[in-house]
Amino acid sequence: MASVADPRVKDLAIGGVRVPAALVRETWPDPYMDIEDYDPESDLMSLNMGPQHPSTHGVLRVKLFLDGEICVKCVPYLGYLHRGVEKLCEKLTYVQVPSVVDKNDYVSPMMNELAVCMSFEKLLGIEVPERALVMRTVIAELQRLSSHLLWVGTWGLDMGGAIGGGGSLFIHTFRERELFLDLFEELTGGRFHYNHHTPGGQRHDIPPGWEAQVHQVLNVLESRLIEYEDLCTDNHIFQARTVGVGVIDPVLAMELGVSGPVARASGIDHDLRRDAPYAAYDRVKVQVPVRQEGDCFARYMVRLAEMRESIRIVRCLIDDIPEGPICGAKMVKLPGSQKVKAKEFVYAYSAIESPRGELGTWVVGQPKSASAYRCKIRPPSYHLVSMLPYLCVGQMISDIVVVLGSLDPILGEVDR
């Protein structure tokens, strides 16, 4: 591990990026520590933040061993939302899969569809037309905006209670999110689950007047973002709850596979939209917000800055969407028409930057088959939840709730 003995060293070069040296630790808590070693008299209280809890962001069971109010060991249990999506992907054809993976990250569904479709296009060798690429970028950024809005609201709930100050913040952000859901309803017909992307492009074309509606929504959101900043950023209670809480070591984040706003708040300057551009991101210079403190407040500031950046990207692209077809593959009438052309097994992996980090799909294609042989989804939230045993040690229960909220895991994609 990197050495931080020298206080003059401000940042270290690790893993291709420079990370702030103040956050790097020599040792990490041991998630497999035997509780008997800590406390032979078993004075600790084991508390289940059970699958039903208002603040676990889904059905996550976290078993905490508490010394008073301070957590000594944390063991997460997954699988409560496991629906066998990967097995289902082996049975369904390539065209049928996006509507199923919609339900993984149910807060920004088109991200899942995009990740899966990009992998399938790589596997099957399908070209995506220009119009579809630009539309994909616009829609991805709109999804990022609505996902971060939901995150701000639910984080307020964690901190303030549903009957209380958090409830007010929640209702306000959902009011803005409704505007986005209306946009998507105009485009695809669905509010939450769209079945919009397909290998080769998309299914629905932009209806007339949609661009004007997008501009209107973005203008409204920009004014409201100022309101949210006024409400939270300088609020003493908010700062007392989030500043210095849940500091994440960037080297640990890298090794665990954590990317996205959580990593960027710990100083890791990495964003797939800028560094490995897909869709039309090479036409827009994405400015990536990075902060050096690594605590919950830093994650909040990074996500707010990302929202502003997404607004800028959409405004850049929305007025110049090129004309043309929206799908490179023939719109299939029979679901079995897209097949692997090679004679042996083919493999593909492609990743996108979802609001939580690197969302990718590893696909194995069987020759002469219209279904994938093995479709593994690499969900960013899985790695975020795997951070919990390291992060929760030494925190109070209230802090654990705030930290879990600030990581923004979505249990749908953790369990699939």
């Binding site: 291709g16 699988g79 496991h82 090794e255 300057d269 992996y349 093995r374």
Partner: protein
Amino acid sequence: MIPDDARALFERLLEEKDPHPEIGPRVPCDQLLAVARALKEELEYRFFVYCAAAHFPAPKDAEEGTPAEILVAYRVRRLGPGTVTVPFHVRVPVDTASPSLASLYAGADWQEREQYDLVGALFEGHPDLRRIMMPEDWEGHPLRREYAIDTPHFPWR
């Protein structure tokens, strides 16, 4: 595409001149930890992307004795501008353990547990290899090819 520095490393450690572009070179089990450590510490591929396993049963028209195999594919990434990923994989017969990367990459811990749970890939040296998604008393590995999607399991089905 595999970047040049990784390609040079594979050539040096494994004598592999032409690795598969998508799943990387096939690494023998006894060299897996050495290769991964070299990638991590010499070439700074510190971001653990995924560990994915796939079950390949013996094809029906193969000769007697061709074993069913499990492919365990890994991928690591170097972050920052110009990010690149390096894949590599291991192929083991079913019910044989491959070495675990959990001591090198903290992220391999849970990923390998998931692949053990769903595909039945065994990992030697893993600190806590038990089921993560399915309930503890589940029998069978659901993502094996012969596991039917509607296999009954009381009380869920």
